[in-house]
Amino acid sequence: MKEEDFKDNETLELFKKEGGNVLLSTVDSLINWGRSNSIWPLTFATSCCGIEMMAAGASRHDFARFGIEVYRASPRQADVIVVAGTVTNKMAPVLKRLYDQMADPKYVIAMGACAISGGPFFYNSYHVIKGVDHVVPVDVYIPGCPPRPEALLYGVMQLQRKIKLNKINDMDDPSANF
Amino acid sequence: MLSQIPLSYFLVVSTLMFFIGIYGFLTRKNLITILMAIELILNSVNINFVAFNRYLYPDQLQGHFFSLFIIAVAAAEAAVAIAIIISVYRQYFNIDVERVDTMKY
């Protein structure tokens, strides 16, 4: 997919600037190539969006083409946590804990309206977190309710683009600010 | 090539191992560790047998077979020993020798 077909290139440019706009070395790009092509997700699905995540893994859409099929149940071995579904007040500490227990480098995809902003449960609900970015730092937001599997794939590609900007030695813990 | 190493070296190693085993046997209180010490002792004996066989009667296999049977017997012994340990454990929830013999059956 071509660069200009992607959305939100401006933010990506911004990230590049923040990174000092230094050219990546060969080693960096090799590592980023590895990282971006092997994003193992944690099995973390709380509700409806999880079903579409499963659908994305199934034959029709085949997540595995991106090398992502290795769903790990243990956060130690996962790279990305796809928050697929509503996160409630009771669940938030769990999510945070899971995120904390993941090994660096780690990424978060907020999938679906609930994960982005609480979605349908934004108003009048007493038990829903209004967006998981209050709990963990989110790298990519995929709107939809639920997003269709292609949208998830698209989000993953966005994440890959973001990973490709990383430099080997500026991997600070993003959760330090939290 | 082997002749570069004298037989006595093997014997020294096995002796040391034997006495280390004895040390463990005497100082350890846990039944399982005692079992391990016994395994060390048996092993040192095996080394002796094998070394003797190789250096003294290389054409025969007595030492070799002796070790073989020792290993087999050790296995059977370990099986029974562990069965005993487990049954002791189920009785006392403990496998310290000292505690075990002070407790009443």
């Binding site: - | 002796t15 034997f18 004895i22 080394i47 059977a76």
Partner: protein, 170 residues
């Protein structure tokens, strides 16, 4: 230094080091792991002496069998945070002295004894030979022990089942 010497020193060093660790380690599973290393090094010595079958038996039965069994029982009876109390200094010194005395005595005897070593062949006894002797009846045959082993094993099965299966005697 030939490869053989190198290996001998390596293996005997490992044996001694890990045996000491086995009997002194305060964590039981570590002790078992060290024991495993001792046994593997012993197998290494057998390999070096070219008794390959014996070495493999050592690996299978000792390392793969007995140690596994020991680890199993450790998993039941001990917890990861469990440590042995260090033994009293007095007892330790006493034991060490006694053991060292014994060791020195034996070693001096061993070193002073003149073995008439013959290293005619460092041939590996091949399986045909081993099998032949194991099944043979004659002077070098071990057919009887071979069958006795089976009885021994039978006894071990009976014994361990009876002992371990004993229902909770309340």
């Amino acid at each position: 230094m030939s490869i053989h010497e190198l290996m001998f020193y390596l293996f005997s060093g490992m044996i001694l080091l890990f045996s000491v660790l086995t009997v002194t380690s305060r964590r039981i599973l570590r002790a078992a792991t060290y024991l495993l290393f001792v046994l593997i090094s012993t197998a290494g010595i057998y390999f070096m002496l070219n008794y390959q079958f014996l070495a493999a038996v050592q690996l299978t039965l000792y390392a793969g069998g007995i140690v596994v069994l020991i680890i199993f029982s450790i998993l039941l009876t001990s917890h990861i945070t469990h440590k042995f109390e260090p033994i009293g200094i007095k007892k330790m010194v006493f034991t060490i002295v006694a053991v060292a005395a014994g060791a020195i005595l034996t070693i001096t005897t061993v070193l002073n004894y003149g073995f008439n070593t013959v290293v005619a062949s460092s041939q590996n006894p091949d399986m045909q030979l081993i099998g032949g002797s194991l099944l043979g009846y004659g002077r070098d045959g071990y057919a009887l022990p071979f069958e006795v082993i089976s009885v021994l094993l039978l006894a071990a099965i009976f014994g361990s089942i009876v002992i371990a299966k004993k229902e909770k005697s309340k």
